[in-house]
């Protein structure tokens, strides 16, 4: 996803490391950013909002 092999690059220690280009967001691959950061934080915001809404709704019905 957004990944294309470009050319080999050297680490400077004599090892050749294949350099891969990713679509980057805050210096990390976009797919990881969306899964881990947006995935978790978005989930947490929605769940907290749902919990507060349901608590208020349940309180009004009592």
């Amino acid at each position: 996803m957004g990944e294309k092999p470009v050319r080999e690059a050297s680490s400077g220690c004599g090892n050749r490391i294949p350099e891969r280009r990713f679509l980057m967001i805050i210096n990390m691959p976009a797919n990881s950013f969306f899964l881990y950061y947006i995935g978790y934080l978005g989930q947490a915001i929605l769940v907290v909002a749902a919990g507060i809404y349901l608590y208020i709704k349940d309180s009004k019905s009592d």
Binding site: R20, A44, Y55, D58
Partner: protein
């Protein structure tokens, strides 16, 4: 100072347990605390039990070693809390009250009208609980030994005596009260370790940290850690937590003991905030340490205690060490009570009912003591079999109970034959799979996920449910819940 803080913490939880023992009047008080807990107690009980010592020690170590994939184990936690408290929770609580049950096998026996269900479920659950306890005992022994600078065996004995004492005397109430203290230590400790670690790096930001990691260890930011994790394992880690509220009896008990459904709504908010601070604080601290070579440890399990002692003021370092102990103890006390309730309610109450009824609280305490001591003896000199049991304990517990419990709250057509067959299959297959070394790289969790659903569903479709007015009455209560929800009452 660190040692003093840890000792004060251990003494505090012990005294809390003794105070809780005064509230225990009957077995319902001992095992469910009288079912009167509000949102903070419920949330801290639920989250502290779920976020075990693995989250404070093992998972940050994994983040240090492999990067982002360590997040996977907690990635669906917010949704899992929502599922537990609002999707499964209301019906689970209704069913617990309807059947007036204390243990999960007891509830299943009443739902499916079968003592065989109670027996097979109790056996499977007991094996699973013992395995979980062995794993937690080993962890707490190692951490306390490293922190106090004593041997593993004395460290293990000291830790188990403390958690055992407050659980034997105070039961579920003690476990809830101590879990509240332990939860505060866990969240406070995680926040502190994160703040002080990033302060050790000039100009820290997530973007800067990622840039450094990409240059030095690019696989750590790869979605599966550079193919160190299979997609099946990734999917398993994402799905399993969603069912923790019904599939793990040590979690379900927090739902059974809620005062009412409003508690569930508040609890899921508190649990989500709890886990967010814990997960993000610890994992980002660990990845920062790796990116900037802040620490050097022989074993990455000592990463968090070492970082605490390096970066935190002594008092806060002591608090963090206490938080690690707290996390493990909060898991142990929850599991101990579930295992103890099996011995009393699922076995003794059926085999020797007259003896049991004479003093159920006393027998509950005796059973709790037995459940605490037996794994201790095994953990002192763990035979090879212990590691085998620990490896499949979680999978066995989850996949033994998830479908039978769905039959309590959702699947009215579920039959006792389906439950018995599925429980027997998973109780044999999952340990056997672990014994064979997880063939094909498929974990015991994954094999449970692949096998339990079709076995249950096929057995259910091939057998006929019996007409049962009690089950009809329960489903009418569920319908009433749905009507109340849609009318806003």
């Amino acid at each position: 100072m660190i040692l003093a803080v840890v000792i004060i913490f251990l003494a505090s939880v012990f005294l809390i347990g003794l105070a809780a023992s005064r509230r225990v009047k009957d077995e319902a008080d001992f095992y469910l605390g009288g079912k009167q807990f509000g949102p903070w107690a419920t949330a801290f009980k639920f989250a502290s039990t779920w976020e075990s010592g693995a989250k404070l020690v093992g998972s940050p170590a994994q983040a240090y070693n492999t990067g982002l994939p360590a997040f996977l184990q907690g990635l669906t936690s917010p949704l899992a809390y929502f599922m537990s408290f609002r999707v499964f929770g209301p019906r689970l609580k209704t069913a617990c009250d309807h059947y007036d049950s204390i243990t999960t096998p007891e509830m299943l026996a009443k739902r499916y009208k079968s003592e065989w269900v109670q027996t097979v479920c109790a056996v499977a659950l007991f094996i699973g609980m013992m395995g979980t306890m062995l794993g937690q005992y080993t962890s707490i022994g190692q951490v306390v030994a490293a922190v106090l600078g004593i041997g593993y065996k004395p460290a293990l004995v000291i830790s188990v005596i403390i958690v055992g004492a407050y659980t034997v005397f105070g039961g579920y109430c003690a476990s809830v009260w101590t879990d509240m203290v332990q939860g505060v230590c866990m969240v406070g400790g995680a926040a502190c370790i994160f703040i002080f670690t990033i302060r050790a790096v000039d100009g820290w930001s997530i973007s800067e940290m990622n840039g450094t990691i990409m240059a030095r260890f690019p696989d750590m930011l790869h979605i599966t850690g550079g193919a160190t994790m299979t997609m099946l394992t990734l999917i398993t880690y994402l799905i399993i937590p969603l069912f923790m509220g019904i599939a793990l009896p040590q979690q379900s008990v927090a739902i059974f003991s809620m005062k009412d459904k409003r508690v569930g709504s508040a609890s899921l908010v508190i649990c989500t905030l709890f886990s967010t601070v814990l997960i993000w604080g610890l994992y980002l601290a660990a990845m920062t340490a790796k990116a900037y070579d802040l620490v050097s440890v022989e074993s990455t399990d000592m990463l968090m205690p070492t970082m605490a002692m390096m970066f935190l003021p002594k008092f806060l370092a002591g608090l963090f060490i206490a938080a690690i102990l707290a996390a493990i103890m909060s898991t142990i006390d929850g599991v101990v009570l579930v295992a103890s309730s099996i011995l009393t309610r699922d076995l003794m109450a059926r085999l020797a009912p007259e003896t049991y009824k004479k003093n159920p609280v006393q027998w509950a305490r005796v059973a709790t003591g037995i459940v605490i001591l037996v794994p201790l003896i095994l953990a002192l000199n763990p035979p090879a079999a212990v590691f085998w049991i620990v490896s499949f304990a979680m999978a066995l517990t989850v996949f033994t109970f998830v479908f039978p419990m769905l039959g309590v709250i959702w699947i009215k057509r579920a039959t006792k034959e389906a439950v018995i067959i599925q429980v027997i299959v998973t109780t044999i297959l999952i340990p056997l799979w672990a014994l064979l070394g997880n063939p094909g790289g498929i974990s015991s969790l994954a094999i449970g996920l692949l096998v339990a659903p079709p076995v249950f569903l096929i057995a259910m479709l091939l057998t006929k449910p019996q007409a049962d007015p009690d089950t009809d009455a329960l489903w009418e209560k569920y319908a009433a819940l749905k009507r109340d929800k849609s009318s806003g009452t």
